[in-house]
């Protein structure tokens, strides 16, 4: 690409000086045409590469946002479809409830059950305190909430 640019710059310089050039100067139009075609191809390739990089960057940014969402959790309680999906894959979930008195508790689905978690989260949220739900995969690693197509 750099070599091609140097060649184009050289041709451009020659053409710029064309009017002031001595009579014997000759321009090989075939060579210039080939050079320009090559340049056009290189530009298209470079554009494609840029698009690919842009897509890669967007994918990385989406992944980052998704990871942030996983870490931060969400305030919305899981729907029954999400609960079923979590159970189906052998995952679990937690709800961290922050009471106004400075205390907090983490309820776990495998120990405390969803009914208790939903009830406590609703009680806490109705008082204006903070509630954070997080989903975990079968290995116990934080993961995204299952996509169920319900309530989206």
């Amino acid at each position: 690409m750099t070599e091609l640019l140097d060649q184009l710059r050289a041709v451009s310089a020659t053409l710029r000086d064309f009017d002031h050039a001595p009579d014997h100067i000759e321009v090989d139009t075939v060579a210039v045409s080939a050079l320009l075609a090559e340049a056009a191809t290189a530009l298209a390739e470079s554009e494609r590469a840029r698009e690919a990089l842009r897509a890669e960057r967007n994918a990385a940014m989406n992944e980052r946002d998704e990871a942030r969402e996983i870490i931060a959790g969400r305030a919305k309680p899981p729907t029954s479809a999400e609960i079923a999906a979590i159970r189906y894959v052998g995952g679990s979930c937690t709800v961290s409830v922050f009471y106004g008195d400075g205390s907090f508790r983490v309820f776990r689905s495998e120990r405390d059950g969803f009914a208790l978690m939903l009830r406590e989260a609703e009680r806490v949220a109705s008082r204006g305190w903070s509630v954070v739900w997080r989903a975990f995969d079968v290995k116990g690693c934080p993961c995204a909430w299952p996509k169920t197509g319900e309530g989206e």
Binding site: Y99, D101, S103, F104, R105, V106
Partner: protein, 160 residues
Amino acid sequence: MHVELFSGARAVDADELSQRWARGIVRDVLASLPPDALVIVGDAAGVDRIVRSEVMLAGRNGEEYALDGTVRTVDPLRIVVGRWAPHADVPTSNRDPRWKSWPLRRNDAMRDAASRARIVGATVHATAMIVGEARGTRYTVDACERVGIVVTRYEPGDSL
């Protein structure tokens, strides 16, 4: 300063699964407390016993409200640090009309101690582990909520 009041059913002693369940919760709660937190607990079997053992294990600061009217440190020495009821008021026989409700009076005293701590600036929270009927625990939950102490209730086998 933070004060955590524990109340729970004696029935968790009925099987190992319930004991494990209660112990897991107690460990979680103790781990979430600030280092200078004071744990208030009774001297009963079941959840109270588990809380006392976990408080000792974690080297936490705890006070045990015993049915003999004393307040003791939660450690192997069980040093008396005060009384929640005068010696003369403690029923000594099951023929005494106060005998049956005495544990509830003790629970009231625990609640009152937590409330007093709140007045002088402490944050106060209560944890209740309810298994079966758990009359005393439910009574304590109501008593705490009546004075504005937030209670987290745990019940095992609560599945959806």
